[in-house]
């Protein structure tokens, strides 16, 4: 043990090793192949949205997860980045400046960073509630300004531009969604890599230290305030990049990019995905975008489900989706993952039935109350039935109650199995 570590310490480790480059290679291949698997324009539109959200969520997690700063107004940095990019787009179009589109997000990043520089200079003095409240106040102020300062924000209509302004870049004119997809994918990889590397730098490590114990960090020579400030500025930069990509993708930026709802959404996304791990926000962004665009086509109650999911996550899985996955690294290491399948199925299948039953009951009640008179037919889980008869509701309620009861009964067994799986073979902790 000591031997190998010391050997490693003596020589400078190679810049890229296969093991640490692997996730990035996989990600690159994955991003390149996605449009081949899902070639429809709408799928690409959704993926573009997802990729932009991922960048923003990662930037947000630089604050929340890595720096321990809870912001209720981070959308403004993305929004301002977006507005700047649209203005640059229009300026370039009007004055014919030879500025290739792919570098445009850089402007968003720089202005996002500039704003973060100003706000951060006073907001990062304290962490915790003071920071959260200042972020809320500044967020509300800038969002409110967006309808007052029409010259820059364009009122509630926002500012729109045309991304196809300039000369083609290597023959690409960015007419089609697919061209934009690859542009966004490039920036996604680049920003994610940079943000990952940032977390490995001295300042990135100290951000974690300040999050865990600001006082101790001060006694190690670091000013907690400046550590927070630098993280905040970096986060503003990447949020601005996301804003720039948003501007390119949608060619319009509006007040909704700045407002409190948007700031709240990114908090929700990041937390759902998991703040404790670098890849958490990525999962959160993917899951949320799918829920928002796909689930909302299936049910009007999607926001209710989302709210419930969020509250349940905070209460029972504070590590989010990523935390849930990483809880299984130890069993995997011990080769005991297989032993969990049985107990999991015993608990989670009834649990899933319970959840679906509950959702079905809600949907039936909702249909009963809001559907047109005489329109008593509804379709749920590929079954069509009469929402006004008692039987379906009864089945749903029974499924819900029964499912939860069974799940609750099996839960101790699952906990036990999980505990056992976390104990190395033939030994105890």
């Amino acid at each position: 043990m000591t031997d190998t570590t010391q050997k490693a310490a003596l020589s400078r480790p190679p810049i890229i090793t296969l093991s640490n480059a692997m996730p990035w290679i996989v990600a690159t291949v994955f991003l390149a192949l996605m449009p081949v698997i899902f070639p429809s324009n709408s799928a690409i539109t959704i993926m573009n949205q997802m990729a932009i959200t991922i960048i923003f969520a990662l930037a947000y997690n630089m604050l929340l997860g890595q720096g321990g700063m809870l912001s209720f107004g981070h959308a403004v940095y993305m929004g301002v980045g977006g507005f700047v990019c649209v203005h640059v787009m229009n300026y370039v179009e009007d004055f014919g400046v030879p500025l290739p589109l792919p570098v445009l997000p850089l402007f968003g990043g720089l202005f996002g960073m500039g704003l973060a520089l100003i706000v951060g200079s006073f907001s990062t003095r304290k962490a915790g509630t003071v920071f959260a409240m200042i972020s809320l106040g500044v967020g509300e102020l800038i969002a409110a300004c967006s309808v007052i300062i029409v010259a820059f924000f364009g009122g509630e209509e926002g500012i729109s531009g045309d991304r196809t302004y300039g000369l083609p870049v290597f023959g690409v004119e960015f007419l089609q969604q697919i061209d934009v997809y690859y542009l966004i994918a490039f920036w996604l990889l680049l920003s994610a890599l940079l943000m990952y590397l940032f977390s490995r730098t001295p300042i990135g490590r100290m951000a974690n230290a300040v999050r865990d114990n600001p006082e101790r960090a001060e006694f190690l020579g670091y000013s907690a305030r400046w550590v927070r400030f630098y993280s905040f500025v970096a986060s503003g930069f990447f949020a601005g990049i996301a804003g720039g990509l948003f501007a390119i993708n949608y060619e319009i930026v509006t007040e909704e990019n700045l407002n409190l709802a948007q700031s709240g959404t990114i908090l929700l996304i990041t937390f759902l995905g998991g703040v404790g791990f670098f890849f958490g926000p990525i999962l959160g962004a993917i899951l949320f975008t799918l829920l928002q665009t796909v689930l909302s086509l299936q049910t009007e109650l999607w926001a209710l489900y989302l709210g419930a999911l969020f509250v349940v996550t905070v209460m029972f899985f504070p590590g989010g989706l990523a935390g849930l996955i990483m809880m299984h690294t130890m069993p995997l290491k011990f080769g005991k993952l297989g032993s969990l399948v049985g107990p999991y199925l015993k608990t989670l299948v009834p649990g899933a039935i319970g959840i679906l039953g509950l959702a079905a009951a809600l949907e039936i009640v909702f249909h009963l109350r809001h559907a047109a008179l005489g329109d008593s037919e509804m379709t749920l889980f590929w079954t069509t039935f009469d929402s006004h008869s008692v039987a379906p509701l009864a089945i749903a309620v029974i499924a819900a109650v029964g499912g939860f009861w069974l799940a609750k009964r099996a839960a101790p067994g699952m906990a036990e199995a999980y505990h056992a799986a976390n104990t190395p073979r033939g030994g105890s902790v």
Binding site: A9, R200, R216, G221, Y222
Partner: protein, 259 residues
């Protein structure tokens, strides 16, 4: 070694230091000079203001009046991180580490500033051999190499205290302040920590607050006795032991405690 006295260059000087919380004066004019390379212990009954004195020196609390000088420089109005950068490092009475980070990272973080990485965002910590090497060396010194990759929060109490001492001295500060390093430890653990302290503070100035008289008399070159915010005696261990005022203060406190 016991010959070290105030004659040499002073590492830390306190000059008429006072601190009040509201109307209560906790520190009532402390004058003290601690020489370079000296091992100095501050003892005193409960509530004498030992920890407050520590907090005043390290900039955790502002003092009401008086001066603190580190290697001749005034520390008035400086923040903890600035004082640290001038070469003073401390541990805490209550274990104060980064519980969610690994043992190795705890040590590495404490090296960063001293090694000149400051607020760098262009270095990769994992690609800095000097950092890794130094951190490994410290882990070796505090006997935590085996625990390298565990989250610091899961270590045993004694191990956490050892880690804290490792963090405190990792930055290479030459004035080290330890606040009750053996509090709440068993005999064997205490012996282990005392050995550790002796080993890692070799050639540095050490100031510590301690209750365990065995530890104090075994380690310290000189001892100061703080009672009700005043130093009533300073000197070599045997001098202090013989001092009637000290005897009285300790006996008095013991009697009070019985009531």
């Amino acid at each position: 070694m016991n010959s070290a006295t105030t004659q040499g260059k002073a590492a830390l000087e306190l000059d008429g230091l006072r601190k009040s919380f509201g109307k209560t004066e906790i520190i009532r004019g402390v004058d003290l000079s601690i020489g370079d390379g000296e091992r100095h212990a501050i003892i005193g009954p409960n509530g004498a203001g030992k920890s407050t004195l520590f907090n005043l020196i390290t900039g955790r609390f502002p003092s009401t009046s008086g001066k603190v000088r580190l290697n001749g420089q005034d520390l008035a109005g400086l923040a903890p991180f600035q004082i640290n950068r001038m070469g003073l490092s401390r541990s805490f009475q209550i274990t104060n580490i980064f519980p969610k980070m690994t043992v190795f990272e705890n040590v590495r973080c404490s090296l960063l500033w001293a090694r000149g990485y400051k607020y760098s965002f262009w270095h990769m910590v994992s690609r800095a051999p000097d950092l890794t090497e130094a951190a490994e060396a410290i882990l070796e010194q505090i006997n935590l190499t085996e625990r390298r990759d565990l989250p610091a929060g899961v270590l045993s109490y004694a191990e956490q205290r050892a880690l804290e001492i490792g963090i405190t001295m990792a930055g290479g500060a030459n004035v080290i302040m330890l606040d009750e390093p053996t509090a709440g430890m068993s005999h064997s653990e205490t012996d282990y920590i005392v050995d550790l302290i002796r080993k890692v503070t070799e050639g540095k100035t050490l100031i510590m607050v301690e209750h365990d008289m065995g530890v104090v008399f075994g380690l310290a070159d000189r001892i100061s006795v703080l009672v009700y915010g005043e130093i009533i005696a300073t000197g070599r261990p045997e001098e202090v032991r013989a001092n009637p005022k000290v005897q009285e203060a300790y006996l008095g406190a013991a009697l009070e405690a019985e009531h």
